[in-house]
């Protein structure tokens, strides 16, 4: 944790990027921290507010074309998120938020400039990717398989500065082969909305990064594990 003993989580621009239950990721992180007696505060930072630079975890979600382009412009102009990332903040970027972390993305038929915080570029696919997505996560992260629901028209190309978050075993992800990207403490994924509901281990990875801990006390994950089992099997059945 950066300076104080309280873990601070920022949800970036819920007024612009909050289409698919994105609030869930903030709620889940806060709950999993609180259950371990880690003091936690959450902040919803609107697009007309200054972006704090000293929070520990930043979350950014999915959205429509117009708000996505607007969010990217404002984050570039604000500069606060870049400073936070340079200072070592952890990030979970989802769907439209994932795309805008790259160098460029397509919105409303035009190429838009992204934040350049991940070495990725996104363009349009020929079909829309909608449905269950599943993948084996980069072994270096030491996490069980990714499960999510994807809903996007973009395709994302990874540069040498990032690694795929996962190898796709069902669904499309970036391009049918890989899904998401990560570098340092930034995770990007097309598993949209409340991705952490199905992937509590990713939530715990973000918490560990934020507080600099190698491990966390285990929680009773009976229900998330049942959900994971069901969804991983459902993706196989498709």
């Amino acid at each position: 944790m950066s300076t104080e003993s309280t873990l601070r989580i920022v949800w970036i621009y819920p007024d612009l990027l909050s289409t698919y239950g994105d609030r869930g990721n903030m709620l889940i992180l806060a709950r999993r921290a609180a259950l371990r007696n880690i003091p936690v505060e959450t902040y919803e930072v609107r697009s007309d507010q200054q972006m704090p630079t000293t929070a520990d975890i930043y979350l950014i979600g999915g959205g429509e074309d117009g708000p996505q382009a607007l969010a990217s412009q404002r984050l570039i102009a604000d500069g606060g998120l870049h400073r936070a990332v340079n200072q070592g903040a952890a990030v979970l970027a989802v769907c439209a938020g994932y795309q805008l972390f790259g160098g460029s993305f397509f919105a409303k038929g035009a190429q838009c400039r992204g934040l350049d915080l991940l070495d990725i570029n996104s363009d349009r696919g020929e079909t829309r990717a909608v449905g269950e997505v599943r993948g084996d996560i980069d072994p270096r992260l030491g996490l069980p398989p990714l499960t999510g629901f994807e809903n996007h028209g973009g395709r994302t190309h990874l540069g040498p500065g990032v690694a795929p978050l996962a190898r796709v075993t069902a669904g499309i992800g970036n391009d049918g082969q890989t899904e998401g990207a990560w570098n340092g403490k930034i995770l990007g994924t097309y598993a949209h909305g409340p991705a952490l509901a199905r992937n509590p281990a990713i939530a715990d990875l973000l918490l560990r990064w934020a507080i600099g801990a190698d491990s966390l006390a285990p929680l009773d994950d009976t229900w998330p594990e049942r959900l994971r089992g069901e969804r991983l099997a459902a993706a196989s059945a498709v």
């Binding site: 007024d15 239950g21 007309d48 028209g153 973009g154």
Partner: protein, 437 residues
């Protein structure tokens, strides 16, 4: 994110119509072209066959066959009738029922009261209607432009626009734009629109004849950004305004006040309903506003609203084993908030599916705050009960997972059991209760 065409929510199976030929009946309506007469007649017959075969109420399949034979059938059937259309994301089935009840003051009213709200359903409803001069049609929001073109309604009521089945539906802003274009093409049409929803106001604000109603808006997460200029929208004490342009909440001629409705003259009418919740008083206000466009006075219409006891099984109450079970449909975040408002503090069963008509994505569960259920005895069931389990845990709501509806009934003490379910889960429970309407 790309725009993509909406898929129909009901899948038509041609298998359902095999035995139609040779059963045409005589048509007596002299105004329709021959092709339309045949199509209308076949449509009615197919609907009857479909009902007889136990394949639903036939309101979709009949219209589907009719439109195959005559693509202009809906236009022909609508011709010469005074029609009101009711559209929006939520409340349209109930508001349609209320409006049909209110217009009943004038005489018989045709309506698609089973919620078959696409052109096939409209065709079927009007084909059954004979010479009935009035019709009130619920219209799926995606189809509103087309149905306006084909039916030339006297009045269209616009209730609200919010996220609904986002893995298939058009984005909210796109829908508002479609409505706006449709209204601009029909300047003679009267519009009754919700002043509390910025997306609805933007779609209707340039229409020549608009009457605004205010029924309150509990769900706001789809209208924080101005559809006109992209600036943030501010809200305070029921008012709202764009911080970047002139779009703002218009003055409402009809509004809800306590358990009644204030009309444009300022007269307050007590609205006693069998249907629960503040939201249904709002739906009643909308119906009264639409009926007024047909010359029906609130004082005549209000008593008729009280006759509506359930709508396509929604709000229906069933007694079983000493339990009074009430069924509430909640199909998207806005309607869940309304359901929590309607439900009594009593044992509650939640059921979630994610089948084709529901949308396959359950992410919306995190757009709903389930904390009003804390302290109640909560049961969960349905295909996607595990999604619900994780959501409730995050919301610190204690629950018990049951595998059947009956298990929940047996675990509940005698008295009220509230059931809140999304679309196909609701149908499953209705079927289990063996209750058609």
């Amino acid at each position: 994110m790309a725009v993509f065409p909406p898929r129909p929510r009901h899948v038509m199976r041609p298998l359902d119509v095999v035995s139609v030929s040779g059963t045409l009946v005589a048509v007596t309506d002299g105004k329709m072209p021959m092709r339309a007469k045949v199509a209308s007649s076949v449509s009615r017959t197919a609907a009857a066959l479909s009902r007889a075969a136990g394949r639903g109420d036939g309101s979709v399949i009949g219209g589907w066959i009719g439109l195959k034979i005559d693509p202009d059938l809906l236009r022909n059937l609508a011709s010469g009738r005074a029609i009101a259309l009711v559209s929006g994301t939520n409340g349209k089935t109930t508001t349609t029922r209320f409006t049909a009840a209110a217009l009943g003051v004038l005489g018989p009213v045709a309506t698609n009261s089973f919620g078959a709200n696409m052109p096939t359903g409209h065709t079927s409803a009007l084909a059954r209607a004979g010479a009935t001069p009035f019709a009130v049609l619920e219209v799926d929001e995606h189809y509103l432009a087309r149905v306006i073109d084909e039916t030339t309604p006297r009045v269209v009521a616009l209730l609200n626009l919010s996220r609904d089945q986002l893995d298939r539906a058009k984005e909210v802003a796109m829908m508002a734009q479609m409505w706006r274009t449709a209204l601009a093409a029909h300047p003679d049409m009267h519009v009754v629109a919700n002043a509390d929803d910025p997306m609805v106001v933007w779609s209707a604000v340039n229409a020549a004849h608009v009457v605004w109603f205010s029924a309150g808006q509990r769900w706001m997460d789809d209208s924080w950004v101005c559809p006109e200029c992209g600036s943030p929208i501010n809200r305070a004490q029921g008012d709202w305004w764009c911080t970047g342009c002139s779009l703002r909440r218009p003055v409402a001629q009809w509004r809800v006040e306590e358990d009644g409705v204030v009309d444009p003259k300022g007269d307050w009418h007590l609205v006693k309903l069998q249907l629960p919740g503040h939201v249904n008083v709002g739906n009643a206000a909308t119906a009264l506003a639409v009926a007024a466009e047909f010359g029906v006075r609130p004082i005549e219409a209000v008593p008729r609203l009280a006759s509506v006891a359930s709508v396509a099984g929604r709000y229906a109450q069933v007694d079983r084993d000493g339990r009074n079970i009430r069924l509430l449909l909640a199909k998207n975040p806005a309607s869940w908030l309304e359901a929590f408002d309607m439900a009594e503090v009593a044992p509650t069963l939640l059921s979630i599916n994610a089948r084709d008509p529901d949308g396959f994505d359950t992410s919306w569960l995190y757009d709903v705050d389930f904390s009003p259920l804390r302290g109640r005895q909560v049961f969960i069931t349905g295909d996607r009960a595990y999604d619900l389990a994780v959501r409730l845990e995050v919301n610190s709501v204690a629950f018990r997972h049951v595998h059947t509806f009956d298990e929940a009934v047996q675990a509940t003490p005698p008295g009220r059991l509230e059931v809140i379910a999304n679309y196909t889960a609701f149908q499953d429970i209705r079927a289990e209760l063996d209750r058609v309407n």
